[in-house]
């Protein structure tokens, strides 16, 4: 993008890309604000995306920007409906890269059933960086939504929607130039959530497993619900490649970030049906029952290890630094 800082040429260039890929009647009006039909109760959220590299195995920053916001809406029990997106482009972004990213956003939005109804672009000085903010609105169904991290009850069963660590491992591999076939798991999760709700699964708590990893999320469930949660190391799905990479770098899949995985605590009697719901989703094929709420010290998360021992898991401390020997 040779033509610089927000002039007419840039505006035309960008609007032609956006208009072309985010084609919908609301955006097409090009008004100052999108006017859309609503619901009695809506959920709103926003998130910014600054990942490098922009493209990685299994996704790109555009796909991430849609999935991240869609998943936040889905975890609150809402059906994701509308997104806005703000782009900040540093001078030097390649036109073709921008086009690929916008195309990917449009595809992911279609997959997730959301409409991108408003947008903004700024061009600033820099070295070719690209950042995206998305905000989202979702419709909440009638009635109270009783899902909360503080709602785990005795004997509840914990389910995970698939393998851990793939996104984190894909990004690290790309940054470090490590060749492997690890793909980011970046995916919208609202489908499996609506399946759970449709099947009237008694979901007590659910959360997408992003930064901080599974252990951080479940530790929060345990603390907020004042229960003891135990998970089984040998039941937690992790691909051999991710496990291998973690071994080399001294990372723990339990603390690695994901972009297309969720964890839920459900009533024990509903566990098998819940598992079937997750497995029915194209993004939940590797779903597994990984643990349960057990009698024990309030606010603790225990891991029953492959070796047969038991240890406590805490939330993530620091940045998950690689070990050195």
């Amino acid at each position: 993008m040779a033509h610089g800082s927000g002039g007419k040429a840039t505006t035309e260039l960008i609007s032609s890309i956006f208009a072309r890929y985010f084609d919908n009647p609301i955006l097409a009006k090009m008004e100052d604000a999108a006017v859309v039909p609503g619901a009695a109760r809506i959920a709103m959220t926003t998130d910014s995306f600054v990942v490098t590299p922009l493209f990685f195995a299994g996704g790109d920053i555009g796909k991430l920007a849609v999935c991240g916001t869609v998943n936040d809406l889905a975890m609150s029990g809402a059906v994701p409906k509308y997104l806005t997106c703000g782009f900040i482009l540093e001078e030097g972004v390649e036109f073709a890269d921008l086009e690929r990213i916008v195309f990917s956003m449009a595809q992911t939005a279609t997959d997730a059933g959301v409409m991108i109804v408003a947008g903004d672009t700024k061009v600033i000085e820099g070295k070719g960086g690209l950042y995206i903010n998305t905000a989202g609105v979702g419709f909440l169904p009638e009635g109270d939504f009783a899902v909360s991290s503080s709602n785990c009850g005795d004997k509840d069963v914990i389910l995970l929607s698939g393998t851990l660590g793939d996104h984190h491992a894909a990004i690290l591999s790309a940054r470090m130039g490590i060749e492997n076939t690890i793909q980011s798991d970046c995916a919208p999760l609202h489908g499996m959530v609506s399946e759970l709700l449709k099947e009237k699964i008694r979901v007590r708590a659910m959360r997408d497993v992003t930064r901080g990893g599974l252990a951080t999320v479940l530790h929060e469930f345990a603390a907020a619900s004042r229960k003891c949660l135990q998970i089984q190391e040998d039941q937690i799905p992790v691909t051999a490649q991710v496990q291998g990479l973690c071994g080399i770098l001294g990372l723990d899949p339990l603390y690695m970030g994901n972009e297309g995985k969720m964890v839920a605590a459900v009533a024990a009697e509903d566990a098998q049906r819940a598992l079937a719901c997750l497995k029915n989703s194209p993004y939940g094929r590797d779903a597994a029952i990984i643990g349960e709420v057990i009698p024990g010290e309030e606010g603790t998360l225990l891991l029953h290890t492959r070796t047969g021992g038991t240890r406590m898991l805490t939330e993530l401390y620091g940045e998950g630094l690689p070990r050195i020997c």
Binding site: M176, L249, G250, D252, L303, H304, T305, R306, T307, G308, G309, T310, R311, M312, T314, Y317, G318, E319, L321, P322, R323, I324, C325
Partner: protein, 347 residues
């Protein structure tokens, strides 16, 4: 198969104290929940095998000084960034313009140096025999590629002399879980003179939970029988004589030197430094000996030598946590305090 598990769990003989020397063992013991599988009469003590934890403050201060020098970039593993020197850490000086890059492998520095030839890149080269072999390979590559803007600031240490130091302190260690990674390079025979001199058994072990349990079983049995051998229970990776090629590489580029260990002082000949003919790759590593504990209450030194458990430190879990570490043992993911804190290992 289950016999050794039952033995370890039900052991009710005289109390035994076993030191795991290697930081990776410390981490794996915590990860596998080993303590929940053995009798409370078998006490495990974390030794001086975490390279970050035994680095003295003057070395960190020197790194900080380099990071603030114009056109100089410090390249390091992640753990080092948060360790405090006499006043600050590399992380602290980053916000003041200190140039610090984090990498996952020393060899990553080559690409950095090639990309910015006007800057000098200094690798924070800490570690034991295992990592020394990688630094030797790095120097070898730098020399071959004719790179002139890459240096090492070394604080390299060797295992046998510090283990001897622990033995000579008579801290009541009955057996050693010998460091697996180091042994891959040095060979298990390295520990034979120590075993004979101090009549203490050693077990060289791998890093899986099961491998550690088997090694502990072997050690307790040897202790009970007064047997002071070196048993190699990691034969898939470790030989008696070690990796000759790696040893040759290390000896080509490095020679022994006195080394300062955090909290232990200077142990003669327990370190390695670049040989005189390669000093142009050195960023001023000689004579970095002084060590000022960041906090007067810090017990890192006693924790590293097994004289105290982490929880016996007055700062543990209160003033000193992984979020706000006072001592190096709480910074490194292989540090005993970090490991005890995060995994709530019985401290």
């Amino acid at each position: 198969m289950k016999d050794y598990r039952a033995f370890l769990k039900e052991y009710d003989g005289p109390p035994v104290r076993i030191m795991e020397v290697c930081g990776t063992h410390t981490a794996s013991i915590a990860h596998s929940g080993i303590v929940s599988l053995i009798s409370s009469k078998i006490q495990l003590i974390s030794g001086p095998g975490c390279p970050v934890c035994v680095t003295v403050t003057e070395y960190i201060d020197r790194l900080i000084e380099l990071s603030l020098t114009p056109d100089t970039v410090v390249v390091t593993f992640g753990d080092m960034i948060r360790v405090t020197g006499s006043r600050q850490s590399l992380q602290d000086v980053r916000s003041e313009g200190g140039q610090v890059r984090m990498v996952y492998s020393p060899l990553d520095m080559i690409a950095l140096a090639e990309a910015e030839p006007a800057k000098t890149f200094v690798f924070a080269a800490i570690g034991f025999e295992t990592t020394a072999a990688v630094y030797a390979a790095l120097i070898d590559e730098i020399a071959r590629a004719g790179i002139t803007n890459a240096r090492l600031l070394t604080s390299l240490k060797t295992m046998p002399l510090v283990i001897e130091w622990v033995c000579s302190m008579q801290g009541g260690i009955d057996g050693f879980l010998a460091p697996g990674h180091v042994s891959v390079i040095t060979g298990s025979d390295l520990f034979v003179p120590l075993a004979e001199k101090y009549r203490i058994p050693f077990a060289v072990a791998g890093f899986e939970g099961e491998q550690i349990l088997i090694a502990l079983y072997a050690l307790v049995k040897m202790i009970l029988h007064g047997d002071s051998r070196v048993m190699n229970l990691y034969p898939s990776a470790v030989t008696a004589g070690g990796n000759q090629t790696a040893q040759h590489m290390i000896n080509t580029y490095f020679e022994p030197c006195d080394a300062a260990w955090r909290g232990m002082g200077i142990i003669p000949d327990s370190g390695m430094i670049l040989r005189p003919e390669y000093l142009h790759y050195d960023a001023g590593s000689r004579d970095l000996y002084s060590d000022h504990s960041h906090h007067p209450g810090c017990r890192c030194a006693k924790v590293i030598t097994g004289a105290q458990k982490p929880a016996q430190c007055p700062l543990f879990g209160t003033l000193c946590t992984p979020d706000k570490p006072q001592g190096a043992c709480m910074v490194s993911t292989e540090g005993s305090c970090y490991s005890y804190f995060v995994n709530r290992r019985n401290a």
